[in-house]
């Protein structure tokens, strides 16, 4: 399907660029904001750096954060959901209350507070707090902190349904341990909706990163990401609108590809479930 093709392109692009070894941080002051030309297929940005290379590198950053954070959030959510769904009772109620509480919070304001925290005040050693990659890690952590709830809810309802199935009861009567049951029997059956949700959330994380970068709380230069390229370009929008067009278009295409992929997966799973039922 067309959508998968887009997704693949987004994924494969960045490593390719890195392999080509062009220095994306080479500042060329004489060549600022130039139009497309052979060495620079998409022109140069405000510091004379090659736009296409930065786009690809930015893609690498944005996609890494997106996939990593979405997966981590899914993992955390799955854990919570499995425990809540399987054990039931007060564990279920407590976990669900916590989940609901987090869902009820106004998202963006809290993220802003969390993104602006001074890590050293939290006791994180200064070397870590000031390292180059900290902004990446910070955004990923934030995305996980607010993203696990969707997965948790999904997994919980799927677990509730699955735990009453025969093969699970059979395993229980055979004396299988709880973790074993969770891992071997229940998990495979909740995978379907989980994968769909995770795919969709990759897009959300990418959008989140772009908003945080817009607010100045996201990735720091000279690290490139689509979000920072976009917010850098918005100031020059009246004179070099294409600079904003490219990263914006990339974000748009990638997110929409994720969404379409997720939707397609969902339809595929639905049909399979329908057939089986």
């Amino acid at each position: 399907m067309l959508l998968s093709a887009i997704a693949v392109m987004s994924f494969a692009g960045p490593p390719l660029g890195a392999a080509l070894g062009i220095d994306l941080n080479a500042v060329d002051l004489l060549d600022r904001l130039a139009g497309p030309s052979p060495p620079h297929p998409l022109g140069t940005d405000e510091l004379g750096r090659d736009v296409s290379m930065r786009l690809l590198a930015g893609g690498r950053v944005s996609l890494t954060i997106g996939i990593a954070a979405a997966s981590a959030a899914a993992a955390l959510g799955t854990l919570v959901g499995l425990v809540a769904g399987y054990l039931g009772g007060w564990a279920d109620r407590a976990l669900m209350r916590a989940t609901d509480a987090i869902i009820a919070l106004p998202l963006l304001p809290l993220l802003i507070v969390l993104a602006a925290l001074d890590l050293t005040k939290l006791g994180v050693p200064a070397a870590v707090a000031q390292s180059d990659d900290i902004s990446l890690i910070r955004i990923a952590v934030l995305a996980v902190l607010v993203g696990w709830t969707t997965a948790a809810r999904l997994v919980r309802s799927a677990t509730l349904v699955t735990r009453n199935r025969d093969f699970v009861r059979a395993a229980q009567s055979l004396g299988a341990g709880v973790p074993h049951i969770l891992w071997t029997h229940i998990l495979p059956n909740v995978l379907a909706p989980l994968i769909v949700a995770t795919t969709l959330s990759v897009g959300d994380v990418i959008l989140l990163e772009s908003v945080l970068s817009f607010l100045g709380l996201g990735i720091q230069p000279p690290l490139a990401s689509w979000g920072t390229m976009l917010s850098n370009a918005q100031e020059l929008i009246t004179s070099a609108p294409l600079l904003a067009l490219y990263p914006g278009a990339m974000i748009f295409l990638t997110v929409i590809a994720c969404n379409l992929l997720g939707d397609a997966l969902q339809q595929r799973f639905d049909r399979r479930a329908a057939v089986r039922a």
């Binding site: 941080n25 002051l29 000031q130 929008i237 009246t238 004179s239 070099a240």
Partner: protein, 558 residues
């Protein structure tokens, strides 16, 4: 269902069209209103609490300070009649009890100065403002001014004498002594601890009696705009605009769009677009506007932490500055609008010396100096010394400032060519200035010093002003510059009344600064004013006193 929503949409369109007709601004001929766009909204409007550039911009139209530096960087009297000086006898040096010299300065308030409710401005207001300033509980920001004044003698309703405890050459400048209306604010000051909450500037900002300038504030919508209208009791030159709106739009792209769409008429230079944004704007849309670049007293530089072993070596510092092609940066990033600085003294300043050593781009010589300092060139690119350490520094500046981030990346790539590795680490302004710089936790910090004409650099270069535990990290000599010679020059300069002798001292000071390089000079930042073609009379000052102080000169060009 779809038809219903479609109908709703169709009904909205004509309503919108009517709305547009109603709201389109009055065209051309009788232009009597002005809308100014700035990037920040002033918090409290009380002139003495919580200093902010946006606030002084707005209050420049509504409150008169006693003295300011004008566009020619001369000290002038706004609220007073004559500028006191020793020559005209209004300023009298006195010998104080502890052997130091103080000065008694006499000012006369303009006889026609009135508050917006008709009450004249009198020495009652002077004494009241002084009391507020001296009270430790009143939340006044800069209390140093009031500390220096040990007493006030009131001669009559309009004349008073200040007893100042230190004789400095700029004795007549009491620019920060902005009067508060005693007849209105006295009630709020009944409990000094509550003054900042009860001040009428916050509870009742549209009270005309709070303002003595050509305009008064007639409407405040917090976070959005401030509306000003002429002060009926203003007795100075007439104000030309019947209504001035100052609108705060923080996002600069939106600010530009507003300018293009006519929602705002001009962008203030003091709080507007950054230089590279303005350059890009001018390229595209410069025909419809008048764009003025005013170089100012904002000295963009890089503080070097002189306690780091690599930076303590003077040769390394010189190599660093030789390895920067600042002219190229100025030309290509700033279209030559921000001049390269040789020291912290602006070329337009009275104290400027053209003989200050100038460092031109010379990477060859930089390499020689680095080798001599023990940093050997390596095949990999980054130099190493005998102990195996690499020549690498962390460069910090305010995050989110595009221009600075651009400059940083250029610096990084230029220094790499002479074998110096730079790691960029930016922090939000609040962190950088709140913690990192005062606690000296940086290798290199790029930021700006804002000064005034002939501003003696005590707080930034005197050895007693190095921020440390003892002074509560309040000094601004973050580089840690300790030079007895500089200390002597600073102490001598402050009390030197003879302008010729001062010039000599300034020259020596700049020579010393350029020789020692405690910080690397970069540029003097320019403010950019984007004005409509029909507006005349706006004269950018280049110093920290806003152009709005001369609002009565602004007029519609016929």
């Amino acid at each position: 269902m779809r038809s219903l929503s479609g109908q709703r949409r169709r009904r909205r369109l004509p309503a919108l069209a009517i709305a547009l007709l109603l709201s389109s601004p009055a065209v051309g001929e009788e232009r009597d209103s002005l809308t100014i766009g700035i990037t920040q909204f002033p918090s409290t409007l009380n002139p003495n609490i919580d200093a902010m550039a946006a606030k002084s911009y707005v209050l420049g139209m509504a409150l008169r300070p006693f003295t300011v530096y004008d566009a020619d960087w001369q000290l002038v009297c706004l609220l007073c009649v004559t500028l006191p000086s020793i020559e005209n006898g209004l300023a009298v040096p006195v010998d104080l009890a502890d052997g130091k010299k103080g000065i008694d300065i006499t000012y006369t308030i303009r006889p026609e100065a009135n508050w917006g409710d008709g009450v004249p401005v009198t020495t009652q207001d002077v004494r009241f403002t002084y009391d507020v300033g001296r009270d430790p509980k009143s939340a006044v920001g800069n209390a140093e001014l009031y500390r220096r004044i040990t007493g006030i003698d009131v001669k009559d309703d309009k004349t008073f004498t200040l007893h100042v405890d230190k004789l400095t050459f700029d004795y007549a400048a009491i620019n920060d002594f902005v009067l508060l209306p005693a007849h209105i604010e006295r009630a709020a000051f009944a409990d000094p601890a509550q003054y900042r909450v009860k001040t009428s500037y916050s509870t009742e900002p549209t009270n005309p009696g709070l303002y003595n300038g050509p305009y008064r504030i007639s409407e405040v919508v917090a976070g959005s705009h401030v509306l000003l209208e002429p002060n009926p009791h203003w007795a100075g030159p007439p104000a030309h605009f019947r209504r001035i709106t100052v609108r705060a739009i923080e996002n600069t792209a939106a600010l530009e769009a507003n300018l293009l769409s006519g929602t705002i008429d001009m962008v203030a230079g003091e709080l507007g677009l950054s230089l590279d944004e303005a350059l890009a704007f001018e390229q595209r849309h410069g025909d419809g506007f008048r764009v003025i670049y005013q170089p100012g007293l904002v000295y963009e530089h890089i503080d070097l932490d002189l306690d780091r072993p690599a930076l303590a070596d003077r040769r390394v510092r010189e190599a660093l500055i030789l390895g920067l092609d600042r002219e190229a940066i100025s030309k290509s990033l700033f279209a030559g609008r921000q001049k390269v600085a040789d020291s912290f003294v602006n070329p337009l300043d009275a104290g400027y010396s053209a003989d200050t050593p100038r460092y031109r781009y010379d990477p060859a010589r930089a390499a020689v100096l680095l080798e001599a300092a023990g940093w050997q060139a390596q095949p990999g690119g980054i130099r190493r010394n005998a102990e195996g350490q690499i020549l690498s520094f962390e460069l910090m500046t305010t995050a989110g400032n595009r221009t600075r981030e651009l400059v940083e990346q250029v610096l990084q790539s230029q220094w790499r060519k002479i074998g110096v590795d730079i790691r960029i680490k930016n922090e939000p302004a609040r962190v950088l200035f709140g913690e990192t710089v005062p606690h000296r936790r940086f290798d290199m910090a790029m930021y700006a010093w804002i000064s005034a004409p002939e501003d003696v650099p005590r707080s930034i270069l005197h050895s007693s002003e190095i921020p440390d535990q003892a002074n509560g990290f309040a000094g601004q000599n973050a580089a840690g510059f300790k030079s007895p010679e500089m200390d002597r020059l600073i102490d001598a300069l402050e009390i030197e009344l003879d302008p010729m002798k001062r010039k000599t001292l300034w020259t020596e000071m700049q020579q010393l600064y350029a020789a020692e390089l405690p910080s690397l000079p970069l540029f003097f930042r320019s403010d950019v004013f984007i004005l409509p073609k029909w507006l005349s009379g706006v004269r950018p000052t280049g110093n920290q006193y806003p152009t709005t102080l001369w609002i009565t000169d602004w007029a519609v060009q016929p």
